[in-house]
Symmetry: C2
Subunit: 487 residues, 2 copies
């Protein structure tokens, strides 16, 4: 390893906040998404996919915590000098798709899509710059029955995944209620739009911060541990108190003091009636005035899927698992492009968050696929390799996962490789066996327990089962028998 050689080598590394995924993670995610797709399909939603790159202006700027232009997204210029961005969610591209194809779509348009999205943000533990979302949306339906249906679908999905009733709740609120409260404390109107957004995002942090810290964000601003200062909404103490009262359950006087507030309450009541009629009690879906959602584009009902069971945080303290998805009504997003109003509502699951929850509950198998039957490469000449290749082919033709060792290492390393791969069977044919038309079959599972056997008779019997010779033409049958021993 000379220094000279090292200098010329490229370093093998990933950009920050990006991850590789192995077979167990991929299989578990696939299994989970299959269940979600089944539920969504039963609800009448169809699959749709949009590309990873969109024109930046078509995506719009709807990310929270986005202070600089283009911050939060990965952007690059196309040949014709137009800015493109990697999609940061699946809602903005859907709005572009619906607007582009509106004349030809069945209306309402019901679709679901799973896909990777990208955020150009500071990565952290469990916080990636590429992650997967699974969305379902109804576009072209103004009735809150559409919102109610998606909440019920979210509940059904969590139960279909094995999360027991009582371990989750879908919390529902309505932006108009909050708009009413904000109007009541004097920050209504176009001129206060930026301030209202700060208020929304502050309240959205109530799952992480207490009212003291959120109060700072609502008031003069907040200095975090790292020394970063976040500008506050500039509300005074009386306004903050009234806002807090408006977020409390049954604060209907405050909420109903404006037209927006009254409308929001009426819509919540209608949704509650639909939930109740369909048999979804407050143990599954409940109205909760504390839900706000941090995104600017919501215009009516907002909802959040929360898991109630506890897990340990990094410090070993028990904490609620928390949100695994959410959504709401975004009536303005499609009509950004069109000359007609297009009401819409949708729900987004954080795929890796939900998978982590299922793993915490033991509802996802993390057992990798069984390793292949390994045919060892004893003689590496063409005759030897041809013979091994034929054995492997026979096994595969019989539907058995099998592989010929293709590296250059010796027998000991090959057995170690079988172990690494989780192989249950190894097949060995030296030149003597080849001449006799035979192979040795090794039961690696049984073989691993041999030295725990004390009794000599039993040892010999087991040993005979753990390695034995068969004719080449009987390999498939013999391997099947050994595999059957171990389920």
């Amino acid at each position: 390893m000379s220094t000279e050689a090292k200098i010329t080598k490229t370093e093998a590394r990933k950009p920050r906040g990006l991850a590789d995924r192995g077979p167990a993670d991929i299989a578990a995610t696939e299994a989970m998404m299959r269940v979600i797709r089944e539920v969504y399909s039963r609800y009448g939603f169809d699959a749709l996919e949009t590309p990873f790159l969109e024109y930046t202006d078509a995506l719009g700027k709807f990310l929270p915590d986005q202070d600089r232009p283009n911050a939060g997204v990965f952007s690059l210029k196309d040949d014709d000098e137009q800015w493109m961005s990697l999609r940061y969610d699946l809602t903005a591209p859907l709005a572009r798709y619906c607007a582009e194809n509106w004349q030809n779509l069945p209306k309402p348009f019901r679709s679901y899509r799973a896909g990777w999205v990208f955020r150009n943000e500071k990565p952290g533990p469990g916080r990636f710059r590429q992650f997967m979302q699974f969305d379902a949306d109804t576009v072209g339906a103004g009735s809150v029955a559409a919102d109610a249906e998606i909440c019920m679908m979210a509940a059904d999905t969590l139960e279909a995944l094995g999360i027991p009733r009582g371990a989750y709740v879908i919390k529902v609120n309505n932006r108009k209620v909050l708009d009413g409260v904000m109007e009541a404390i004097g920050i209504g109107g176009e001129e206060n739009a930026a301030r209202r957004l700060i208020v929304l995002r502050a309240i959205d942090k109530l799952d992480k911060f207490d009212w003291v810290e959120v109060g700072k964000l609502l008031g003069p601003g907040r200095l975090d541990e790292s020394g970063d200062f976040t500008k506050g909404a500039g509300l005074n103490d009386a306004q903050i108190a009234q806002l807090r009262a408006g977020l409390a359950p049954l604060a209907e006087q405050v909420e109903a003091s404006t037209e927006a507030g009254r409308q929001g309450l009426a819509e919540l009541n209608e949704m509650a009636a639909l939930f109740s009629a369909a048999g979804y009690g407050p143990d599954r879906i409940k109205i909760d005035p504390s839900v706000v959602r941090g995104l600017e584009y919501y215009t009516g009902p907002v909802y959040e899927a929360e898991l109630l069971f506890e897990v340990k945080d990094e410090a070993g303290r028990p904490v609620r698992f928390g949100s695994v998805g959410g959504g709401g009504r975004y009536d303005g997003l499609v009509s950004r492009f069109l000359d007609e109003p297009v009401p819409a509502t949708g729900f987004s699951i954080g795929v890796s968050r939900l998978l982590a929850a299922l793993q915490a509950l033991g509802k996802v198998s993390t057992t990798p696929e069984p390793g292949p039957v390994l045919v060892l490469a004893m003689d590496r000449d063409v005759a030897g390799m041809s013979a091994y290749q034929r054995i492997v082919k026979d096994l595969r033709d019989a539907g058995i996962r099998a592989e010929l060792y293709l590296g250059s290492a010796g027998m000991k390393a090959q057995m170690k490789y079988a172990d690494r791969r989780g192989s249950k069977v190894a097949i060995i044919q030296g030149s003597n066996e080849r001449e006799a038309g035979e192979v040795q079959i090794k039961d690696l599972v049984l073989g691993a327990t041999l030295n725990q056997t004390k009794d000599r008779e039993e040892y010999l019997a087991k040993q005979a089962q753990a390695q034995f010779a068969v004719k080449v033409e009987d390999v498939v049958g013999a391997v099947k028998k050994v595999l059957a021993r171990h389920g």
Copy 2:
């Protein structure tokens, strides 16, 4: 539609060369990929995924036709000023992954991965800037048995997808043979590397151009129809003639006149023996000296999966379907990062090309999922919507795809929507029916054939089947009966 309003609207459009995908395409691709995964898994390959963004220097520059720096790829700068690129294939990221994790991987490392890749090239008909590849690679195996196995796996995969024997062939060659021929005509050595690359890419165009046009690319250069001039390799006529002879089958004298050529021929012979021993005759896998593959990084065996049946081109002329995938040995790609040699070989399928082939052969179902049973929204008050919601829920709980109409249109438009969605059953409950605890069930398939019935008796009988009333509690049973009528 005022001009004023139009000016403020964002245009709903996608960047060039990118496409949306609907349910039929997504389902067909999924079904195809499931079969590929099964074959690859049976061969002992495991799933792996890498992120979409990589450091540009880690990807390297291995794209053909890449004249300008950064051309061919989508690149952007990270916060720390390092260049990142969207992956342009799945081989370069795999090389980065293997190098980064080499100490901890089982060796050889066998993996497969399907994923979107991105090329910043001029889009055209059927030529997208985002497309999907499905790769399998064996890293850490220097033996050509690893290449041979992947060729056999490619053949098995095509047959598992329903492509009949005789309708495809896996063509195999070895870069070393071509290197030998190039050395023989005097363009060996480091100083001719760029020229050899031009030669490789010219020969790789033999599937599109005849020898006259390829000869221009090998010689002084070629002016295409659009007026673009491509610089040639500058070979003289004698060199071109000798090169052409070297590419002809059984031109062993030319090929064996150098050490590289002899080695390449020996490797091809070894592979041929392995194919033959495993029962893969030249009707499935054949040695073909015309295969070169346009990528610079191949170092040994190269292979290509070609479909032999004919389809019509844009002008209606019959043409061979052609290549749906290919690959080869790339012994230098992983060791770019490491201080040890890491031989590797892999195969890549062009997913949409292969899907198009299966569609041309009628081997992929393009029937979309059946439309949902549609419950019409007749009374839109809470009582009405609650009643409809309950019916929909009962159907879904029985595993039936069902949906409540959530738009605001009248009954006629709702029936049209059912038609658009491909619904076979509609359920109607007006206020009278609701009071009586009944619904009307409409068999939309039967209903559509009613007016073809001439005979009055038959008409009445059919009509009674096509629409009938049932008690609300019998809806599920009645819907099941109607769905069973239509398979």
